[in-house]
């Protein structure tokens, strides 16, 4: 009796203290995804990854030739490789591995202006797969179903930057059974395999951390966007670029003082995002963009204008609760849509965004921290375990067609 009384008193004191101290911390909300509170899961111990030893012409030599590969938005593939090499989930014994990783940098072939050329990537990938299938037995065991590849390019493993061409090519036939870790995600699209893991594009974490402004700076911009509306070089009259959505935003809201939108690139871009309530994240040539990462890190509610897009880690992060989704056909009514959101919903979204685990999950920090994007990828891989026994092929059985695809792909690299 007395013990229970003391327990009650202790609980009361703790609760009281919690109330006092909770008042001082900025209010955040826990993020519970559709699979539970999985953002904070620790993948260590739940899976084992074996990293193939490929000759350096597939990875290191490419990076040496062009160190710009480390700073652009596709740099995730390089950082994931580095992370896995020193991660506790790595195993040196391939027989106990659940997943196999092939370190190949398919997007590290840059033009002078810094844009990646995907024309040699299919051949490069093919040659790498030929290498691992001849030197190790694990590829042929499952025809790649327990292997994963990082393909962060515009349309993932379709290896092209133009959507029509990418659709025509489809996913590289050899990768049909493998798990693809990519930035592109659109429902019912040829270039998205079921079971792919969508990751955020790479945004330099140090640069974003360096440009934080004090959190009590009042948010006075209602809607913020900086970027192209018309891609004058490739689609001057509009209608192709972004399926006309960006042009519609411009034409409807260029006179609206609530919308701070322009094509100029100011030096205070990061600071301005921290002073805005909504940040537009419309599609461009591809539906994803680093703006989503920047909006989440800076606490600006992302307004996603891309039909059928699949956002990063969609099974762990409840994007519907965090961002606002606007259909492309509703763009002319964007102001009505945004102002008709109830204020408490907006405040709740801001609280969810203020949660540090959300910000960590979108970034690729060096060195890796718990809960960051690397760990979310591993969590995603761990959630797909244990492998279904059906993926293991009977000896002599072959599912993949090694000669499928355009003729140009079959040339050796």
């Amino acid at each position: 009796m007395r013990v229970s009384m003391w327990v009650l008193v202790l609980l009361f004191i703790f609760g009281f203290n919690h109330r006092i101290f909770a008042h001082q911390r900025p209010r955040t909300e826990r993020i519970s995804g559709s699979a539970g509170d999985v953002l904070e899961d620790d993948p260590v111990g739940r899976l084992k990854v074996y990293v193939y030893e490929l000759p350096s012409k597939y990875n290191k030599k490419l990076l040496q030739k062009d160190p710009r590969c480390l700073t652009y938005m596709f740099a995730a593939e390089i950082f994931i490789h580095r992370f896995l090499l020193s991660s506790p989930v790595r195993t040196l014994n391939p027989d106990e591995a659940d997943w196999f990783y092939t370190p190949i940098y398919t997007t590290c072939d840059l033009t002078p202006t810094g844009m990646p050329l995907p024309f040699k990537s299919p051949r490069m990938m093919r040659s790498a797969i030929q290498l691992i299938s001849t030197n190790w037995p694990y590829w042929n065991r499952t025809d790649g179903a327990d292997h994963f590849f990082v393909v962060p390019h515009d349309f993932g493993a379709c290896f092209h930057y133009q959507e029509e061409k990418a659709i025509k090519r489809g996913i590289l036939p050899l990768l049909q059974r493998a798990t693809l870790v990519q930035t592109f995600g659109q429902r019912n699209h040829v270039c998205l395999n079921e079971g792919s893991i969508i990751i955020p594009p790479y945004a330099p974490p140090k640069k974003m951390q360096a440009r934080q402004i004090p959190p009590d700076t009042p948010r006075s911009i209602f809607v913020y966007f900086r970027g192209l509306f018309y891609d004058v070089n490739n689609d001057p009259e509009g209608g192709y670029y972004a399926r006309g959505a960006r042009a519609a935003v411009w034409e409807n809201f260029k006179n609206n003082a609530l919308f701070d939108i322009s094509t100029e690139h100011p030096t205070t871009y990061y600071e301005d995002m921290q002073r805005a309530i909504f940040c537009l994240c419309p599609l461009g040539w591809a539906p994803w963009s680093p703006r989503l990462v920047e909006a989440v890190v800076f606490g600006c509610i992302p307004v996603i204008i891309a039909d059928d897009i699949v956002l990063p880690f969609a099974d762990a992060i409840p994007w519907e609760d965090i961002g606002v989704f606007v259909a492309e056909e509703d763009v002319p009514n964007l102001d009505i849509i945004l102002t008709s959101i109830p204020t408490d919903v907006i405040l709740r979204k801001q609280r969810l965004l203020a949660n540090p685990s959300m910000k960590r999950a979108m970034q690729f920090p060096q060195p890796a921290q718990s809960g960051d994007a690397f760990h979310q990828i591993l969590n995603g891989l761990a959630r797909k375990l244990p492998h279904d026994n059906k993926i293991f092929l009977k000896p002599g059985e072959k599912v993949l067609n090694w000669t499928a695809g355009p003729v140009g792909d079959l040339k050796p690299w």
């Binding site: 659109q186 019912n188 209608g239 519609a248 609206n256 039909d307 102001d335």
Partner: protein, 502 residues
């Protein structure tokens, strides 16, 4: 095949400028140079020329009409042909028209994506301008978000700001008091404004402060403001003590700050004083301004170089951010040259330490508050002749320096007054109208009915309105035909009036 030729040419155009590299793919495809392809390319070129002249995409219309019957065949073909049909169907949507999503629901029953690749129309609503209700709603959202930010990151429990302002009726009162009033109206916390007026409560002051929208206490002080600066400073000190007594009587709870009516306050000041515990001091920038333009002649070159950028009055801290002393205004350069009377055109000097630089927790003034510290003297025991609130303290070392230890200047001191014999229209409303009005040569308002008053009384009482109208609009010169007629009318009006008054 014709469609693929079209597609080809588009792809060629796009890919050659796309990312600045020669794509390997297109070279293979353009190898098809059969006569039919050439013919269609030529036709396409001709249509382009026609559309250049006519101004819309004529060629695509033609294709649409030609192929509208055969589009049904294309429904069953794979996805990529679908994109080109979508192209053609969308071609009618010239960008600047309001457009609905192209009617292709029947086509989308295939497993392929609902999202169609290809040219889409740019949707613009009929009135692409801001809607006032939406703007108001957006501002409400912004205000709520900022309030939430302030609750989370700003001052935890904001206290009422009690502003004490001594004032009296004079020419510049409207100017100074409006400035203070607007600053107080912007303060995001509760404000109580105690206005002490020398010479009794007057309608002018009352009408000014009534517009403020904050809670005001108008206190009268039955002595007239003297004409010399020194006596004025002394009287103002007495008026402030009177206000502090009001605080004590009404047991007002908050932070007392002294907002002299000619000072300029920054909004950060009000946020910073919320941090005070009992008694704080802030740095004031002193704008010692001389009334005349002969300041440059007063100062020689060396003096100008020696003088610091702007004198600051306030707390001085040592290296460990503790109060070590006070910065006061150095009045030596101005010895003998400063203004004695309010009319003087010389530099007006501040006192050693201005009242405006101090903030006091109102609980220090209450009688018999339980947790009052013992270094505060009772208000009644200090007498009437105190120079600065420091005289209320037994020990001046407990003063808290605010604004990062006095490094931030949060308010500015300035004294500007007109001559004491200057007249100004009461309430700053010109009523009755000025005695002499001279019509401008170009009277721009022909619409005023030319009234020829019969009696002088009628003229004076006629809505001064019309006279005011012509007066105010005389500055605009609108050349009109009736100009001369108007001028004549006004002339007659004035002349009758003059004759009447004579």
């Amino acid at each position: 095949m014709k469609l693929s030729a079209l597609q080809q040419s588009y792809m060629n155009r796009r890919s050659t400028s796309f990312r600045g590299s020669a794509p390997l793919d297109s070279s293979a495809e353009s190898a098809i140079k059969s006569p039919a392809a050439i013919f269609w390319l030529l036709l396409h070129g001709v249509c382009c020329l026609i559309s250049l002249v006519l101004g819309f995409r004529f060629s695509r219309l033609v294709f649409l009409f030609l192929f509208s019957t055969s589009t049904s065949n294309l429904y069953s073909t794979p996805f990529r042909q679908l994109t080109s049909t979508a192209d053609l169907a969308n071609s009618l949507n010239v960008p600047s028209n309001p457009v609905v999503n192209p009617e292709l629901p029947a086509l989308n029953k295939t497993l392929s994506s609902r999202v169609i690749v290809g040219r889409h129309g740019i949707r613009i609503r009929p009135w692409p301008h801001p809607n006032p209700t939406e703007v108001m709603r957006a501002h409400q959202i912004i205000e709520r978000v900022q309030r939430e930010q302030r609750i989370q990151f700003g001052v935890k429990s904001p206290r009422t700001v009690i502003a004490v302002t001594p004032t009296y009726v004079r020419t510049f009162q409207m100017l100074h008091l409006t400035g203070v009033m607007h600053s107080l109206m912007l303060v995001p916390y509760d404000v109580v404004w105690i206005v002490v007026e020398a010479g009794g409560v007057s309608n002018e002051t009352a009408s000014i402060i009534a517009k403020s929208g904050v809670k005001t206490i108008h206190v009268e002080f039955n002595q007239r403001m003297p004409n010399s600066w020194e006596r004025r400073h002394k009287l103002e000190a007495k008026m402030r003590l009177r206000a502090l007594r009001v605080v004590r009587e009404q047991k007002l709870d908050g932070i007392v700050m002294f907002a002299d009516d000619s000072n300029m306050h920054s909004m950060d000041l009000f946020d910073e004083i919320q941090n005070v515990k009992w008694f704080g001091a802030v740095s004031i920038g002193i704008l010692a301004h001389s009334g005349g333009a002969d300041e440059s002649s007063l100062a020689t070159v060396e003096e100008v170089e020696k003088r610091p950028s702007m004198p600051i009055q306030g707390p001085a801290c040592n290296a460990s951010n503790k109060l070590a002393g006070w910065h006061t205004f150095n009045s030596l350069p101005y010895k003998g040259k400063n203004a004695i009377y309010i009319d003087d055109r010389a530099t007006v000097l501040p006192q050693k330490l201005e009242w405006a630089g101090f903030v006091v927790n109102s609980r220090l003034l209450w009688k018999g508050a339980e947790d009052k510290p013992d270094w505060i003297k009772d208000l009644d025991s200090v007498g009437e002749d105190i120079e600065s609130p420091l005289s209320l303290l037994k020990d001046t070392s407990i003063v808290e320096p605010l604004g990062s230890c006095g490094r931030q200047v949060l308010l500015w001191w300035l004294r500007v007054e007109a001559r004491s014999d200057s007249k100004f229209p009461p309430g700053w409303i010109i009523d009755p109208p000025l005695e002499i009005t001279v019509p401008s040569k170009r009277t721009p308002w022909p619409d005023v009915p030319p009234e020829l008053p019969s009696t002088e009384k009628a003229v004076i009482n006629i809505p001064e309105h019309t006279v005011k109208q012509t007066k105010t609009r005389s500055s605009r010169s609108k050349p009109r035909g009736k100009r001369k007629h108007e001028a004549k009318v006004v002339d007659t009006q004035i002349s009758t009036r003059h004759s009447g008054q004579n």
